[in-house]
Amino acid sequence: MTDLIKPIFSVDDLKITFSTQDGDVEAVKGVNFHINPGECVGIVGESGSGKSQTFMAAMGLLADNGTATGQINFQDHNLLELSTAQLNHVRGKNMSMIFQDPLTSLTPHMTILQQMREVVKLHMQMSQKDTDAMCRQWIDRVRIAEAERRLNQYPHELSGGMRQRVMIAMSMLCDPSLLIADEPTTALDVTVQAEILDLMDELKREKGTAIALITHDMGVVARMCDRIHVMRHGQYVEEGGVEDIFYNPQHAYTKMLLDSMPRIDNPDKTSHHKLKPIDQQTSAENFLEVDDVKVHFDIKINGGLWPKTVPLKAVDGVSFKLRPGETLGIVGESGCGKSTLARAVLQLIPPTDGTVTWLGKPLNGLSRAQLKDKRKDLQIVFQDPLASLDPRMTISDSIREPLVTFASHMSRKEMQEQVLQMMDKVGLERNMINRYPHELSGGQNQRVGIARAMIMKPKLVICDEAVSALDVSVQAQIIELLMDLQEEFKLSLLFISHDLAVVREVSHRIMVLYLGRVVEMAESKDIYANPMHPYTKQLISAVPVPDPKIERARKSIKIPGELPSPMDPTAKLKFMPSKLRAGETNYIPKLIEHNPGHFVAEHDSLTDLQATG
């Protein structure tokens, strides 16, 4: 079949080498593949596998120290042989690209319209009026409301999802035959991701645009791709149709990738390690109790003669209890206040209001010295493993530091022994003891962060997006490590993540946050089997499942409207517009216990919400 269709894009024995101070590094080691018109080809691999570089070379965007050999054929040209001037007639016109980070990929000082116009002016002969009309059509097309106003705004006035839509609109202006999407949704929230993916799929079907989708997320691939290449260490280890790869993977690496992917529809599939039920005997009282905690920040608003301040309610009245040995998952999208809540619990940010009770005694209002005493039992693991370790301290110094602070009576030798034992426990080789963070991988650094948090045998550890920056295979290992340590130390965990599939795997109970307020809280299995709040339903339906048949049959739930600003006083009624219409703008939706232990915030029904949007 494929012989009859002439591929629009084909790569022949492509090698890419970067010359670095440590000698030449071969990032891509001779790959061959092609893309047919109108198909979506997925290039899947973990960080550093060289999956982006192939397309960077095609677009002439390799870093200065990179050289590519071989052939990249696109529309009868070998792209590698074209001069920059010749390449400029191809890129942006017949072949365009969108990037991972929509927040920084648009020029900050030019309006959306100016940036879109530029493309049309460059590649097409068209009057200014037609150009503007076409830009507006495309902005409508990618479903950005109020196109006219948005076109005259600057990138920083748009949300991340909107900026990625602008990128898509901009790259589609000249009707390219190939759209290269490099991790297009990785930096976005799941609900936004679902919309962007739908949009790309729609464009593919309507315009016949071929898509090269570069991603690490097997769920995204399952939803979008016709064919897949699995890449590792600069080579393709497996390639084939989407169903072959998912249902009949041959290579061990592909199997491992699929197996590490947490599944929201089937939490027991991947966890080689089952979550242990908590001991119901241990009473909930006198462990951690968070009562009506609020964290407000004063935001300066310009305008008028004197600047005013408006409170931004990052956390607005959150209460929960945590039992010993229990894991509470906290999920929500960016800006929902989950990290702020974690910091408020640990008193790293003093809460504006409310109390945090730890072992029966309040944590707030304590002096620095009193708090320091408690910190021995209250630890946190952060998101960015490399950035949260001191670059000038060896990893053993970092792990030892809590001992120096809290157990200064220990001799140096005893401390060293403890550090080594801890390193064994978290799976770090003993000979790494004198390494610096930059010499380790992201996964290893996160193990250091966990070792540092665990060395005082704390009672509560907060994991703030602790696995989000890691590749799936590493993520699976770290989760397993956390669950092992939990069992060994009888730890309680607050597990914060935007990734619902991961949270489901590790948590006994789950709390869903939306703009600083709890919208739903229940036992883990209840919340996934029977989500009640429309926002929870929307979140769960937006997570892609790494199984093409299931994923394509699923329909994601959409609730119209953008995420309101947290400074908007009516934002808390986003799911209760009936109260807004009734003029009760100060109404606060109450948490109601529907079933024992299953709390849901008051809301209008999903069908009403979808109808009124």
Partner: protein, 307 residues
């Protein structure tokens, strides 16, 4: 914008008051007085002199009168050292001179420095880049008190093209050497800042997007990269501009231009209280003014900043 300017004016009032207070206090605490000479004046003469300039009054009364005169009469008082000349007259005489060579120095530093830095960044790691870096380092480390005599030796003594000093009402031949001597190190700093910020911008994600659109390099530099690359340069330009138009002692001494720099040092050495205060206040106002100009320029370069 309007409210920004109003706010700036209001917030500069306490700054100015603190500036006046501190310089007033520093001068009074420093040993010696405008009338201390090697042999010492007879006590009666000293008392008469102090009475004439109001130095016998309590300090707060002196300060109050001083501020009152500035606010209501725009009068900085008489100079203590230069007989029969008021500070206003000295400023009126010296400031235009420094303003002239300062403005030209600014123009030269900016028009040479920015393009030099930007071209070096675009041609990163080429001979041109290395040459630009070499020149700017050289220009930055060469102090103007070395630069000035070298210029005089070359252009006045050997080539006899330009006069070696004097001002002559600001005739162009007399302006060139002071401008070169003053602007060189500023030019070098501007070039270095422009180069490094341009390099950073050229590696940013939105430049990658611009390349992916197929824009020619020229377009990318002019439309996408230039404005953000200028931000750090503009930050530096505010204080640099004030530094240039308020003159330089070295320039005034070497080229006998009669600018403010000389008066400033003289005033400090001879405890000429009123002249020193006058110059300080002028510099202070300039600094506040041009920092506000920098902020306005920032808002133009970066739409995220709303004034």
């Amino acid at each position: 914008m309007f409210s920004f300017i109003v706010r700036r004016i209001f917030s500069s009032i306490p700054t100015m008051l603190i500036l006046i207070l501190i310089s007033f206090a520093l001068m009074r605490f420093a040993p010696g007085s405008p009338f201390s000479t090697e042999r010492g004046l007879p006590p009666e003469v000293l008392a008469n002199l102090e009475a004439k300039y109001g130095l016998n009054l309590p300090w707060f009364e002196q300060l109050f009168t001083y501020i009152k005169n500035i606010l209501f009469h725009f009068d900085f008082g008489p100079s203590f050292k230069y007989k029969d000349i008021s500070v206003n007259e000295i400023l009126a005489q010296g400031f235009p001179v420094t303003l002239t060579y300062g403005l030209w120095s600014f123009v030269v530093a900016v028009t040479v420095g920015i393009p030099l830095g930007i071209i070096a960044a675009i041609r990163h790691n080429t001979a041109l880049d290395y040459a630009a870096v070499g020149i700017t380092i050289g220009a930055q480390v060469l102090p103007n008190f070395v630069m000035a005599p070298i210029l005089v030796i070359i252009f006045s003594l050997w080539l006899e093209w330009l006069p070696g000093g004097g001002w002559n009402g600001g005739q162009w031949q007399y302006v060139i050497l002071p401008v070169i001597a003053l602007s060189t190190s500023y030019m070098a700093s501007i070039a270095r800042i422009a180069r490094s910020s341009m390099l950073e911008v050229l590696h940013s994600n939105f430049i990658r997007t611009a390349k992916a659109k197929g824009l020619p390099m020229r377009n990318i530099i002019l439309r996408h990269a230039l404005k953000p690359a200028l931000l750090p340069v503009v930050t530096y330009l505010g204080p640099a501009f004030v530094g240039m138009i308020t003159g330089s002692v070295v320039i005034d001494m070497y080229f006998s231009t009669g600018g403010m720099g000389q008066f400033f040092v003289d005033a400090a050495l001879s405890r000429d209280y009123s002249l020193l205060m006058g110059v300080t206040i002028l510099f202070g106002v300039m600094t506040i003014l041009f920092n506000a100009v920098v902020d306005i320029a920032y808002a133009w370069l970066d739409p995220k900043i709303r004034l």
